[in-house]
Symmetry: C2
Subunit: 140 residues, 2 copies
DNA sequence: GTCCTTTCGTTAGTGAGCTAACGAAAGCTA
DNA sequence: TAGCTTTCGTTAGCTCACTAACGAAAGGAC
């Protein structure tokens, strides 16, 4: 477990496990929790907004949202302004879980922000941004 | 793309893409490159050593190594000392790629270590370790 | 020596990421 | 208006994570 890449990958795997474990009580996955939080915070979003927010490919969004639709968490309808786009919104079933989900996500975030100074967080931010760019990521 | 978790996840996805793209010229995946590097550095390892090194589950190791065996990259034989264990070693085909793979991995690592001071790297290390522990990871 | 527990690996099933190829709608250009 | 090009989403097929349940080998206790 020597290099940056491996450690970051391990962090992601561990986080996925933790989120999935918590999400299981709602019959959800970790990713589904994140999407419910995002959609719930915006009321109504386009599928392409979800792709952009989570930096995932179109096909990934399609499959994940199809699963969520099938389990009655979201609705997807053609956007009135542009029939190519899909407008995504929460069902009451998902809306009911939103508060607990947001609290979980915020709690994880708070645990990090209280454990480290703003200066440390800035270092982390610069390093992870550099890492992403080194791996061909966005140049902003 | 606001919180720690999402940024770390994005970093992992981006790295996976970059590694997969590079690995493609050899007909490999990024994960397979990492395993070839590790096995090549140790000559012969047990399957359980790979699980430990990469912090993955047994079943994940089984499937990945099965694929690598099928594509002629590794050999797996029952360990003489303990018939339950599998001893993993590189085939000549994989050994031939080892040097370029190691150079790629080392290059990525060097790019990070030269871009940041040891103090900065120490901050990063503490933060990522804290993050892993927060998500139920190992307590060392 | 016989049973019980632990360890190691496999199988089955699911989720989430990717690329590549494709269809349909919108937009642009002439 | 007719025909390209771009954009958005879907499908198919792959890899790599995970959990859960299982079999086989080794080790220990008696």
């Amino acid at each position: 477990m020597s290099n940056f890449g491996m450690v970051i990958k391990q962090a992601t795997n561990q986080m996925n496990k933790h989120m999935d474990t918590y999400a299981k009580q709602f019959g959800l996955t970790g990713t589904q929790m994140s999407i419910i939080d995002f959609v719930g915070n915006h009321g109504q979003v386009l599928q392409r907004d979800i792709e952009a927010e989570f930096a995932i490919q179109r096909s990934t969004a399609t499959l994940t949202l199809q699963r969520m639709e099938k389990s009655g968490l979201i609705k997807r309808v053609a956007a009135p302004a542009d029939a190519r786009q899909k407008a995504v919104s929460l069902t009451p079933k998902a809306a009911k879980l939103k508060q607990k989900i947001t609290a979980y996500i915020q709690g994880q975030q708070d645990a990090m922000t209280t454990a480290f100074t703003p200066a440390e967080q800035a270092v982390f931010d610069r390093m992870i941004t550099t890492f992403i760019q080194l791996n061909g990521g966005a140049h902003d």
